[in-house]
């Protein structure tokens, strides 16, 4: 355990140092992070205004609260493992990671957390400015505020495990780009990013609620904004835990098989 703590601390330091080298990549990511929710927020606010103030109970300022929270949640849950793993495998960079006595997943988790902490310095002022611009209607009750934190942490763990598992498909397929793109389309529609789940047409909404994507984004957002009943919240936590357990099982199985398959292309 103490070994792991040392490892994470060392990793924090190297990540901070290397992130400052790649400021360009950081800027792209931040523009994308801000622009995406602002696009859908603008679309839905326009629709709300043209429908006489609200769409299915959502007013323009409800959408603002929804998408600003979604911005924070997607910043917290976002991973880039699908690109990194492809690069590790295609370039053979995975080999040195495999001979180390710890699972490469720790390095990536540490990287991911450090990156989040660093970018928080940008995201917080951005959210403040957008709050002034869009005047969201934040009505947060004490219990939903408290429940949000575990929901967010579970969403992070769930999204990380699902995307790590998908990323390890790169062991078998050398060009995973098309798969990644397909995943992201499914993700943005069924997680509540393109529209809050309640606005999706009926069979799609019901399916989205059953699948894990909603638990990674829409669920924590709606929980914080008090749009869910306590029962729905409990069901949501159970779903998050269930999906997380399943994802971890898959993660272990694909990783074990993938590493055996790995032949260090290009190394």
């Amino acid at each position: 355990m103490t070994d792991l703590i040392t490892l994470y601390r060392a990793q924090f330091k190297t990540t901070i140092a290397s992130q400052f080298q790649y400021r360009g990549a950081l800027a792209i990511w931040i523009i994308g992070l801000i622009l995406q929710p602002v696009i859908y927020l603008s679309v839905w606010s326009t629709v709300a205004r043209s429908q006489g103030g609200n769409v299915d109970g959502f007013t323009a300022s409800d959408f603002a609260a929804y998408y600003l929270t979604a911005l924070v949640v997607s910043q917290a849950t976002f991973t880039w493992i699908m690109w990194e793993m492809e690069y590790w495998i295609r370039q053979g960079n995975l080999s040195p990671l495999l001979v180390r006595p710890v699972h490469p997943i720790h390095q990536h988790i540490a990287n991911n957390l450090t990156f989040k902490l660093l970018t928080m310095a940008v995201v917080i002022p951005v959210v403040v400015v957008l709050t002034i611009v869009f005047r969201p209607n934040f009505t947060i009750s004490a219990w939903s505020g408290l429940a949000f934190l575990p929901a967010l942490l579970l969403a992070m763990a769930l999204r990380f495990s699902v995307e790590w598992t998908l990323a390890s498909l790169a062991f078998w397929v050398t060009r995973v780009n098309a798969i990644n793109q397909l995943y992201f389309v499914v993700f943005i529609f069924l997680s509540g990013f393109v529209a809050p789940l309640d606005l999706l047409p009926e069979p799609v909404r019901a399916i989205a609620e059953l699948l894990p994507f909603y638990r990674m984004l829409g669920f924590p957002v709606e929980l914080l904004l008090g749009r869910l009943s306590p029962t729905q919240a409990l069901v949501g936590f159970a779903a998050q835990l269930g999906w997380l357990a399943l994802a971890l099982l898959f993660l272990n199985a694909t990783w074990a098989r993938g590493v055996r398959q790995y032949s260090a292309v290009g190394a």
């Binding site: 360009g24 990549a25 800027a27 792209i28 523009i31 994308g32 622009l35 995406q36 602002v38 696009i39 603008s42 679309v43 839905w44 326009t46 629709v47 043209s50 429908q51 769409v55 299915d56 611009v133 869009f134 060009r175 780009n177 098309a178 793109q181 397909l182 389309v185 943005i188 529609f189 393109v194 529209a195 606005l199 999706l200 047409p201």
Partner: protein
């Protein structure tokens, strides 16, 4: 004329080169299909709740998706890959070989690299535009078609000049690999009419990053809502910006010292 012939040669070279890797076509087809699917599903969700978005009907927004895909295809076919290679050349000092060739260096660096499979996006864009025009029916006459073509030409010229100006900054900063990708991530906003965005963002998307001129304005031309001041403005910008880019390019080249050569 020389530039068109050069473009033709590089296009042929690019095709010959890529024919070795035919699976790439397959990958590109999937990517284009996924991109189109995302746009159409998004429109579907929005229009299940409303009949018009900021005054645009569903077939009119389909026209925007068509222009969005077409312009993305055109720029990613030649302009973006060529400029990316140019920036790499400046960094490595290999731009020397280009500068010593007996043709205009700006032309050469703008057409040198061709991503042939991006033609798929061009075809998809034209196809979507065709469907949009059919749905719009009689409202699209010859006047609209002419306005559309002029605005499209102006838009592509503006985007080219804008990207060239961005890329030329590499002469001073050397390491700017990601600057073109920043444009790419902002381009996403062009999928919707820029009129729906809050004023600060709309201004940014018109003047700072001219996505409005490249996508919304041609689409307005096609659906017949383009006013003549806007069209004249686009034309004026399409004349002025290439000149500015040219002057900036000249200053930049003079600044080039063959970094590591």
């Amino acid at each position: 004329m020389t530039s068109l012939r050069l473009l033709g040669i590089h296009l042929r070279l690019g095709i010959l080169n890529e024919l070795q890797y035919r699976t790439n076509l397959f990958v590109q087809v999937i990517q284009s299909a996924v991109g189109l699917l995302t746009a159409l599903l998004g429109l579907g969700v929005v229009f299940s709740k409303t009949d018009s978005l900021g005054g645009w009907s569903a077939p009119e927004l389909l026209a925007i998706v068509g222009v969005y895909t077409l312009v993305a295809g055109i720029t990613q076919l030649v302009v973006q890959p060529s400029l990316a290679r140019f920036m790499e050349d400046v960094r490595l000092g290999t731009l020397d070989f280009t500068l010593t060739k007996p043709v205009d260096a700006q032309v050469l660096i703008s057409v040198r690299q061709v991503e042939v499979w991006k033609l798929v996006d061009v075809v998809v864009g034209v196809g979507v535009l065709g469907i949009a025009v059919e749905q719009l029916g009689a409202t699209v006459g010859p006047a609209e078609a002419v306005a559309f073509l002029i605005a499209l030409l102006a838009g592509v010229t503006i985007i080219y000049s804008f990207l060239l100006i961005l890329a030329t900054c590499v002469f001073w900063f050397i390491r700017l690999d990601n600057i073109l990708n920043i444009f790419q991530s902002m381009y996403e906003a062009g999928k919707w009419p820029i009129g729906i965005y809050p004023p600060w963002l709309r201004t940014m998307l018109t003047f700072l990053v001219p996505i409005g001129f490249a996508i919304t304005v041609p689409a307005e031309g096609l659906v017949g809502r383009l006013t003549s001041p806007t069209l004249l403005g686009a034309i004026a910008l399409a004349v002025a910006l290439p000149l500015i880019a040219r002057v900036f390019w000249r200053i930049g080249v003079r600044h080039y010292s063959g970094a590591s050569a």
